[in-house]
């Protein structure tokens, strides 16, 4: 029931919310997809990604470079390009990373994130360095102007909705089941005949793809990207979003994304040191609410 209510609200938002709020909701939806992929990696793959901004950022840069340099690249093609590039990197890196145990994996994701970030930063000719890239085309989608915030909101809602549906559906497929069983008991999963590495690799590729899509959407949303799209800060943000919402719950990332966007918006007007608050929240959550907000809600029931 709450779902239908939320769905109706979602459709009505452009009509009831002021422009600024609508923008925030759009950002929340886009980031929710990003956070969802991170959570999926942990929940279904048992993989803790410290450098998830890598895929998000690559998706953003790939799509923007596409719009800048490929004449006539359509909106959807650009988004798709972002997803594709990120997914490809997920596949290639994943082939290497998949053999690593938990801690090594986490550290390596951080290392690669930093590596690509450094390259993006130094390769000014292509990426604009820390000046970033702006002024790229915002093509119409099927004749509808994407510059209209309401239109952009609906399109984001649909795209993210489809991706989220795929993520949800994944858990109900045999492959999703393999991933869940690997998380439950990796050793036994192997002896049952499941190729653990291959399954993890597929998951890494998929989450890379979806992260890239959200990165590309984010690029169009901001109409500007810079190294902050792919740096450690962004990797931390997604950690925050997934955690505070509750990593054990499907809608956790959406709640977390909402909290993150609102918090960073209002906190940064208070103080420059809002990252301090974030760090504090991390500590508090782990100590008192490891299952996030949704965990608290479920407990109260």
């Amino acid at each position: 029931m709450a779902g239908i209510g939320a769905g109706v609200l979602a459709i009505l938002f452009p009509y009831i919310l002021p422009k600024f709020q609508l923008r925030m909701v759009t950002e929340i939806i886009i980031m929710a997809l990003f956070a969802m992929t991170w959570k999926m990696l942990l929940n279904e793959g048992g993989l803790f990604s410290f450098g998830h901004a890598l895929y998000f950022g690559l998706g953003a840069y790939a799509s923007v470079l596409g719009w800048l340099h490929i004449k006539g690249l359509s909106f959807m093609s650009g988004i798709f390009l972002g997803g594709l590039v990120a997914g490809l990197v997920g596949l290639i890196l994943g082939a290497f990373l998949v053999r690593m145990s938990g801690t090594y994996f986490a550290l390596l994701t951080l290392a690669f994130n930093q590596l690509i970030w450094a390259i993006v930063w130094k390769w000014r000719d292509v990426t604009g360095g820390d000046d970033g890239l702006g002024k790229f085309p915002k093509p119409d989608l099927l004749g509808i102007s994407m510059k209209n915030p309401a239109n952009f909101y609906y399109v984001s809602l649909i795209i993210v909705g489809i991706c989220l549906f795929i993520c949800w559906y994944f858990t109900r497929t045999p492959l999703g089941n393999v991933c869940v069983s690997i998380k439950s008991n990796e050793e036994r999963a192997k002896f049952i005949g499941f190729n653990v590495n291959a399954s993890k690799l597929i998951l890494l590729t998929l989450t890379g793809f979806f992260s890239g899509i959200s990165g590309a959407l984010y690029a169009q949303f901001q109409e500007f990207i810079a190294t902050s799209t792919i740096d450690l800060g962004m990797s931390t943000n997604v950690l925050f979003m997934a955690f505070i919402g509750g990593i054990g719950y499907f809608w956790g990332p959406l709640i977390g994304s909402g909290i993150f966007v609102y918090l960073s918006e209002y906190l940064s007007s208070f103080t420059d040191r809002w990252e301090f608050i974030f760090g504090l929240i991390f500590i508090v959550i782990v100590l008192f609410a490891p299952q996030g907000i949704l965990g608290i809600v479920k407990r109260k029931k």
Binding site: T103, A106, A118, I119, F243, G279, F282
Partner: protein, 286 residues
């Protein structure tokens, strides 16, 4: 030839500094299976404490003794009041909480000392230069080198010759055995964390006059530190030594040849090592 020797020295100095920072991290992981992401911020605290001490007392050497102990003490507090409650929850929780601590410390430092780099003067005794193969080489850098070698020698001695050291080595290679030995694990954890962060703080104090103190120093050394420990093998001090040396040299010569992307070399090394041996050069768990 001259350039080669100087670059080699540069690499050695940086490598030893890296080792000093990474040793604490890998020690803690080896003994406790905990990856302390906040480790780099303890390094930074060492530098800032030293700066502060220099301002108040004016003596670098006093700082060298006192500040690492302060940092180590903070590490013990962190373990006792924050980490201890989280060990049972698994690695994910440990990661996240140490991440939070990293941020809190980072931001606290900015709050207290501001965001501008704060120069730490080289102690007068070491402010000269030395002639090496016809080039002038700062004496302080040589001090870093020798000091780190001394710490390494001390560590080697403790680990190889003392009873404490033997217990530590046994614990690293077989964690179950430790509880069988009847040692008080929570106490041991606090001690180990204290020593690990003490080492980080020590490295920070030493690094201060070399690179000055600035809020970004934690994050900058964080990745290099991780690369070193992963390449060397998490938990292996020998691995940390070898990896630090290699990466120090790679960075030094890399900057010479391809300044813009010198960082790539360290990653390449790490990738190559891990492809051949997924647990690092001397790592145990494959």
């Amino acid at each position: 030839m001259e350039t080669f020797v100087i670059q080699f020295l540069h690499g050695l100095v940086y490598g030893m500094l890296l080792f000093l920072v990474s040793s604490g991290l890998t020690l803690v992981f080896g003994m406790m299976s905990v990856l302390n992401i906040a480790h780099a911020s303890f390094y930074m605290l060492g530098a800032y404490f030293s700066y502060q001490m220099l301002k108040m007392v004016g003596n670098f050497w006093a700082g060298l003794i006192v500040c690492p102990i302060l940092v180590g003490f903070l590490g013990i507090l962190m373990e006792r009041f924050l980490l201890r409650r989280v060990h049972a929850g698994g690695h994910v929780q440990e990661f996240v909480i140490t991440f939070g601590i990293l941020f809190v410390i980072n931001e606290s430092v900015k709050w207290i000392w501001g965001t501008e780099p704060l120069p730490v003067p080289i102690p007068p005794a070491l402010s000269g230069s030395v002639m090496i193969v016809g080039s002038i080489y700062p004496a302080y850098r040589l001090f870093i080198l020798f000091f780190s070698l001394c710490v390494l020698a001390l560590m080697a001695y403790v680990l190889l010759k003392t009873r404490l050291g033997i217990t530590v080595r046994a614990a690293v290679s077989d964690r179950d055995m430790v509880s069988a030995l009847g040692t008080n694990t929570p106490f041991v954890f606090m001690l180990v964390m204290g020593i690990g962060t003490w080492l980080a703080g020590l490295a920070g104090v030493i690094a201060g006059p070399f690179i000055s103190t600035y809020p970004g120093m934690a994050l900058e050394i964080l990745v290099d530190c991780f690369v070193v420990t992963v390449t060397g093998g998490l938990g292996s001090l020998l691995g940390a030594v070898v990896a630090s040396f290699l990466i120090g040299q790679l960075s030094s010569f890399g900057i010479l040849f391809i300044p813009r992307f010198a960082i790539v070399f360290a990653f390449l090394l790490m990738a190559i090592v891990l492809i051949i041996k997924p647990s690092g050069l001397f790592g145990e768990k494959a």
